[in-house]
Symmetry: D4
Subunit: 161 residues, 8 copies
């Protein structure tokens, strides 16, 4: 069976953030591929990734980028496969630039935008799993378990450290 | 067959924004229900909506709210059904408050956040369709057509009005 | 006599901020309980905490949370006991996300919002004491003393360090 | 019995916002006084209002102001009576200036800050009532009823207008 | 001689802003073409425009877009012809989203960003002329004249209107 | 001759910023006094400082504060002596809260606001000197010299460090 | 006797804001001149205005500008005469651009920055008068009267309109 | 042949940012000069630099500055040579002040604004090269090569570090 989730990012430096998505997918037993696809430095790679996404069997694409973050939105313009966007935190503007560049898409091309940074990347993995779980009862069960375990891990009272 | 998409919103006043989502789903032939579910005024309604979402057969929930917009995130905490969040524009802060309240979710509970306002609501409808299209070839075809028609509608040159 | 002040927070990591509230209450001789109540990870805990607040004799609830901070507002929707909200500072957005998520509540469900971070948590303790002092002359006296001591501690001239 | 709630505001122009607080108190049967107390134009009025608040029997003070909004914080420095702050919306900065000037109080002098504008003013009335209700069972009952009526007023489905 | 300046924009609605650039070029006697090239709705048009820009003899490209404004940056990734970006004002975020999406480009792909809105569009025309004037003495003279006339038009004293 | 410049600040912790003002005044041979005057913790000190400013011979007051920074504006309400405000940098909001609380004064009570932080404090010293220099030719000469020396210190070319 | 206050502004369109300063000076019996001095369109006018300010007898300069507002800061670099800056409100960024461009001056060149817009312009007039009043007892008296009249005009209670 | 690119900056401290521009020009074999030209501390240097720019043969000016960053815009007012502006990152406002002061130029005086900080400085070098390449085929070839090498350097997959 082909890989259903693609994790793409604008540069190697985004990987420290985006691997949070990969780790969640690992925990949930969801296969994925991870690629560097730079909207600006490798636009043709973006093009062919987007054009072949459906035929290659991708069901969800997770795209992370920072600054003038065009990767998620441009990918959404090239394929109807749902695109989840992760705004990577930036040095000067803390990722507000990334967030606005990803979330403020015009009518026609939605990007499912997550929180800025690592929490957003982890949630991108969970959202991808949730989308696949719509038609995969086993994964739905694993996702339910993951969520229950998270809830169960919360102590009743805070502790001094 | 049961309705697969739920559109919920915090108040009647959000409907003028959220019906953009409904109109897109109408265009794409996707059935939906539209409900007012206020996180603060009807929390028990939120609870039971979230708890029964899976068994009622919902595959996607679109949730719109403004200001301290807790509806999308609280719904995401109550069900594994993917939640798409629409930040409704607000008077004082233009929807930045709505956006931050929706998008900045902690690890564990993703909300697929759209643009602020009407464009975001329309895109929520398209994202919902894109998620359903993963396992519905006919809808995938209609979505492809919708996108092609949108692209084809763009004139080559701007015109004075 | 039952405990009148509840300090709740979204996660263990908020405790380093929220214990400032606890310390103020200790200084003023006000009993309190401290609990972790995550709006998203333990929504049912939030529900039952809110529903039993009045009968358990709580007079004030201090709620701290960060990011898409839904805990204070959701608690305010579940009980008429006054809720004081503390926006915990966050990494990417410095707590502006927390602040907007807490303060911008719609008509019907006020949250008494404090400053971002530690100063806000300490002030939450003082506000709780001030509310109790309305009907507790002894506490009112202790609060007056605390305030006078603070004022008296201010030197006339700044000193090089 | 003396009036327990004082509504003060920086100028006549704030009244269109602040009367939302007055109307809520009217609905809940809570007596109040409404005064113009400008931190900058009538500082001595502020001084004597703060100094006599306890002895005059005030239990809560609601203070609204816009721009460099110093009234709520200065009042909090003059009395231990709990102060609720309402950031009035402003022309250039939409009330973000008011919000920051009110909420970011240093340790020692909390202001219970509400949302920007009319919703915040209405909520100030509700918060004042909630504080009084701690030791007034009749008012607690009326507040519960008010909240239930609000919840009951929410329709199940949105309507086209 | 071929047209040296291309004015492109994301949609027809941007033309009311972007024609300010066209009018400046008209005043300066610089030929241009004006096209709608939507990054998201007509990505292939963007591709071919960028790929053929050099061979078609374009010396400068002016690109205007709003919201998640990807057109200028994506064009910069497809051609070495200098790209001038105009952030179009938007409804919810006033063009701050457009500005951040355009100006915060990563190393490798500069976009010469102008002010938000009409002034920025007019200045894009002037910047384009300034670039051409580097190797066109006649245009340099016309540009100098335009600037002198602007300076000469400034009255000494303000007048009541 | 009496001291003509008062430097006041909200707390000891502001001194590391505010002593930049003192150092400039030392360099220019202008006498000053430095006091801690907390708007919230020592309001009566603020009151008496403001009320006696004219009779004590103060010609300029430099006031620094952070967060909900009410000191400069409240001082401006108590005396017609020109008040120069310095927004001290803060942890969560970087001094934007201080800036808005100081600069956005209503009609009637100007505060001459400087840049956030140390540069602003130094400039407050220079502005105070500039105001005194209006009627002090010797100081005017020293200020001119200070400015010329600053300009002369700028190297022609940058140097690697 | 020569005019002691210069009001300058970047363009005719700033006059509707800046005449608030003129009106205050009229009320206080302070003579002034009003000129258009554009930093960008008439830089040489700025130069000569700054260079002759001292010898022409100016004691204070009020400078208003909007957007990338360079006039106040550049004037401060050309003369030691105190410069009061007024950030004019702008269309896209509401004057935050003007504010930052004026207030964030580097060490060496203070600009006494006022609030954004009309209130700031009026306050610039008052600040100018306050500076002159340091060495003009008659003006000091008129300024005291103006302030007292303002305070006396504040009603005790708000009125419905 | 004369130097065609001038790199100017407001102070020595900007050099650590601005040398990124110099390094790019070195890589591309473009000669340049680097000067400190402070808008406020050496306004006359700015004046003469701008006035002689055309006759000295400059084709592009790169100007970097931080805070109330007036250098790029003032240079644009003194010469028709295209000015590229680099907003240097600042301590309190992270360079948003620099960005607004540079990009929001009024009609008549464009500044080609780059991203905040080091990436923006590097891109200023590339934009300068792109402008010169319009009439320099050899440089155009080198710029094409530089861009291709950058694209070729992007790995297919991210690597753990």
């Amino acid at each position: 069976m082909s890989v259903k989730v693609g994790i793409i990012m604008g540069s190697q430096s985004d990987w420290s953030t985006m691997k949070e998505a990969a780790e969640i997918l690992d925990e949930l037993g969801v296969e994925y591929e991870a690629k560097i696809v730079s909207a600006h430095r490798t636009p043709d790679r973006l093009w062919s990734y987007g054009k072949t996404a459906v035929e290659r069997g991708l069901h969800v694409i997770i795209a992370g980028a920072g600054g003038a973050a065009h990767l998620p939105g441009m990918m959404a313009s090239k394929t109807r496969v749902p695109v989840i966007g992760v705004p990577v935190q930036t040095r000067a503007l803390s990722g507000v630039d990334s967030l606005y560049s990803i979330v403020q898409m015009p009518k026609g091309f939605p990007v499912a935008t997550m929180a800025i940074g690592a929490a957003g990347a982890a949630n991108a993995g969970l959202m991808a799993a949730g989308i696949l779980a719509v038609s995969d009862a086993d994964l739905a069960k694993r996702l339910d378990d993951w969520r229950e375990k998270l809830s169960a891990s919360i102590k009743e009272e805070p502790e001094d450290e």
